[in-house]
């Protein structure tokens, strides 16, 4: 099953490679990854989405906890959480002029924004959960998508205090 894992780490070089290595060493793919500093500039938050056997993901989470620069690991999948991603989608409006109107209509429905336009393209920005982003992409497909860039997912627990999953409750470090 899918897991969204939040990993709070020290903001140092090499840490991301160590974290990613724990997945690749087990033949696991990272579906999406996002990294940025937190409020405290000395720490970064890595959000990883992976799909896999619960037992192996549990093992990876325990291994993550062992990395010296990792401060905290939370498997958000098991807690109530919000998750979002942003996509920038460039569509071709060259072939049929009515595509420009169609794009604006679809944008409205999804509350996406047109952030750039040229005589032959529109670039749309959408933020939402994965379902919403994918629905939009599917609708725009017939119009001709020239380029697509997605940020990967970020996620946050709804009530921080309640995020005690079986992974971090009984998982001290070694």
């Amino acid at each position: 099953m899918e897991h969204i894992i939040s990993v709070l780490v020290e903001n140092k070089f090499g840490v991301l490679a160590r974290v990613a290595g724990l997945f690749s060493a087990r033949g696991y793919n990272i579906e999406s990854l996002s990294v940025a500093p937190t409020l405290d500039p000395e720490t970064s938050l890595i959000t990883i989405v992976t799909v896999g056997d619960d037992r192996i993901v549990e093992q990876i989470i325990k291994q993550l906890n062992k990395v010296v620069e990792v401060l905290k690991v939370i498997d958000l999948t098991e807690a109530s959480h919000l998750d979002r991603e942003t996509a920038l989608i460039k569509i071709n409006t060259n072939t049929k002029p009515e595509h420009r109107d169609e794009a604006v209509r679809i944008c409205d429905i999804f509350r996406a924004k047109i952030v750039d336009s040229s005589p032959t393209t529109y670039t749309l920005e959408i933020t939402g959960d994965t379902d919403k982003v994918e629905a939009l992409i599917n609708l725009l497909r017939p119009l001709g998508i020239k380029e697509l860039v997605r940020t990967g997912r970020i996620a946050i627990a709804r009530e921080a205090a309640k995020v005690t999953t079986r992974h971090n409750s009984q998982q001290p470090k070694a």
């Binding site: 780490v9 020290e10 070089f13 090499g14 490679a17 160590r18 290595g21 060493a25 037992r55 549990e58 093992q59 325990k62 291994q63 906890n65 062992k66 990395v67 010296v68 620069e69 990792v70 401060l71 009984q170 998982q171 001290p172 470090k173 070694a174």
Partner: protein, 588 residues
């Protein structure tokens, strides 16, 4: 006054109480070696290969419990220690490896002898760091030793660019380490320990299953107390050997692929396993789906990733083995400390184990024409009276050593378990010998493994490290040949080495004397001569080349389906095989 990075390095080692390091110099670490050369507190043992340096540091660490230290140059120096790092990582050996790196302004430029040391070693170290500023050096070294030796021990690599060793900084060795992300759990959870104690007192067929974790945490006394208090029999993994006296009536010896019949049968029929610092490795469990089918599992380990990795634990206890056993023993004493009552309760179980043991002891057919390897080890064990330290290489001889050297004390049986590194034994023995110059240190090896690091004969000779090299010379990659006999219809693909070279002559080239035994009658005198000699010596036992190591659980098989001896067809097959030895030396 400011000090150079090289001076800071040496001062820091002194602060850590390091008395010896193993290594080889090179361009980017010359400054460090130069400073080392001008002081006496930290001895430098110049090895003949960096792999040797890494294994010597491991041997030193395994024998003492202190961190072993090696220092090598960038590029090829570093890549040559990778096997040692991986070995130390698998067997939780506290090792601090210092590697030289090209100057910071050249990093990433494909400079001469540049390698991404941190990148290469990442998956086989507990932690690693590139030091980019001389001001961080002392703190990084302090942290490296702390991380290597605490929690589940392991190798830590510190990469030092050339300019960091020549730049200057104020030296102040920190007295404390503060790492936000690293706090090993020592005390076990009280509630779980209580539950474990209750299970232990209830069990009718319990087994204590001990791994290397009991040795790192120095828990031998606590383990002995628990076993005697509860009268529960104890079996050990290859890495756990020595944690419990092998001659104790409650000891079942080693379990697993080449473990004792009775310990594997006990594991299979147990109703409770108390796993102590062990990790349910596949060489121990055999076929997982049929492993210990009815047992409940109490698993004590400092590393949470070991728990529930392969086998479900009903009562997981994360903590330092020694501290958990201490807490557990207090409870066990108060719940029911009466050994006699316990004995009554466990009588049928201990009786059953005794029966298994009587039925299928370790056995071999003695022969008066050819030397049996087991006979050599039995004699050696008898003559050395269980004193001294044994380091082994990897193969049949390793398994026989594990079976026949029974009375081990903690830290006296040094072997490469997790990685199974041929070539480990001899340098590891030298490291142990350097730690204990006055103890008898023996390297039990065979010609295949020995040839992987024999260049260290020079190190033994130059530093006068009196290791006794006990060579069970069968002219084969014996363990490979055994598998080929059993599973590949006796086709010896690349396992026949020939009894080459002549190790006695080889030893002579290094000024190391040797003795050879070709017949069983010569075994005892060769052992005695070799042991009497004051320096390093080679004891070359020309053993029967087709001896197989039993019992054996074929890879992936269950515990109760052990193979106990050569199948009849194989027996005749082996005998028919052409043997080039002189007529009459081998059975027809």
């Amino acid at each position: 006054m400011k000090k150079t990075g090289a001076e800071i390095f040496v001062e820091s080692l002194k602060q850590e109480g390091v008395d010896v390091l193993f290594g080889i110099p090179g361009g980017v670490v010359l400054k460090i070696f130069d400073v080392l050369h001008q002081q006496k507190d930290v001895e430098v043992i110049l090895t003949r290969h960096e792999q040797g340096a890494a294994h010597m540091a491991e041997g030193y660490a395994k024998a003492t419990g202190k961190a072993g230290v090696c220092l090598v140059t960038s590029g090829p120096g570093m890549t040559n220690i990778v096997t040692g790092l991986a070995d130390a990582f698998m067997d939780s050996v506290p090792l601090v490896a210092f590697t030289g790196q090209v100057s910071t302004n050249l990093i990433g430029n494909d400079a001469f002898q540049e390698a991404d040391n941190v990148g290469i070693s990442r998956p086989c170290t507990k932690h690693n760091v590139l030091v980019k500023d001389v001001n961080d050096l002392a703190r990084t070294i302090k942290e490296a030793f702390y991380i290597a030796t605490t929690g589940r021990p392991g190798p830590v690599l510190v990469d030092i660019p050339k300019d960091v060793s020549t730049d200057k900084a104020e030296f102040k060795y920190p007295d404390k380490v503060s790492l936000r992300g690293y706090n090993p759990t020592i005390e076990g959870n009280k509630h779980q320990i209580k539950q474990a104690a209750e299970e232990i007192m209830k069990a009718k067929k319990p087994v204590i299953y001990v791994g290397g974790g009991a040795l790192f945490s120095d828990a031998a006394d606590e383990l002995l107390e628990m076993a005697e208090l509860t009268q529960i029999p104890v079996t050990m993994t290859l890495m756990g050997l020595g944690s419990f006296p092998g001659t104790h009536p409650l000891s079942m010896g080693m379990l697993g692929m080449h473990g004792s019949y009775w310990s594997n049968m006990a594991m299979h029929h147990a109703d409770l396993l108390i796993a102590v610092g062990a990790r349910f490795d596949d060489r121990v469990t055999g076929k997982l789906s049929e492993f210990s089918p009815v047992a409940r599992v109490v698993h004590i380990d400092i590393d949470p990733t070991s728990i529930k990795k392969n086998v479900h634990a009903h009562i997981p206890i994360v903590g330092d083995v020694r501290s958990v056993l201490k807490q557990l023993n207090v409870l066990l004493r108060s719940l029911d400390g009466n050994a006699n009552e316990r004995k009554q309760q466990l009588k049928p179980w201990l009786g059953q184990i005794e029966e298994w043991k009587r039925g299928h002891p370790f056995k071999y057919e003695q022969d008066d024409k050819v030397i049996k390897p087991q006979y050599v080890l039995e004699k050696l064990f008898e003559i050395t009276k269980n004193e001294g330290i044994v380091a082994t290489d990897v193969g049949q001889h390793q398994m026989w050593a594990a079976q026949y050297f029974k009375g081990k004390k903690p830290r006296t049986f040094i072997t490469s378990g997790g990685l199974g590194t041929m070539g480990f034994g001899f340098p590891a023995a030298l490291g142990a010998q350097r730690a204990y110059p006055d103890k008898l240190v023996m390297c039990i090896t065979s010609e295949g493994s020995f040839q992987m690091n024999l260049q260290e004969l020079a190190t033994a000779a130059v530093y006068k490290l009196p290791v006794k090299i006990v060579m069970l010379n069968n002219g084969f990659h014996g363990m490979v040949r055994q598998w080929q006999d059993l599973f590949y219809e006796g086709r010896y693909a690349s396992s026949d080495l020939g009894k080459i070279p002549d190790f006695i002559k080889l030893g002579e080239a290094y000024g190391i004397p040797g003795w050879r035994a070709e017949k069983p009658a010569e075994v005892e005198s060769v052992i005695r001569e070799g042991l009497k000699y004051k320096g390093p010596a080679i004891l070359d036992f020309q053993i029967y080349p087709f001896e197989n190591c039993y019992p054996m659980i074929p890879a992936g098989g269950p515990h109760h389906e052990m193979v106990l001896e050569d199948p009849p067809d194989l027996r005749s097959g082996a005998k028919k095989k052409p043997i080039e030895e002189k007529e009459g030396e081998l059975p027809a």
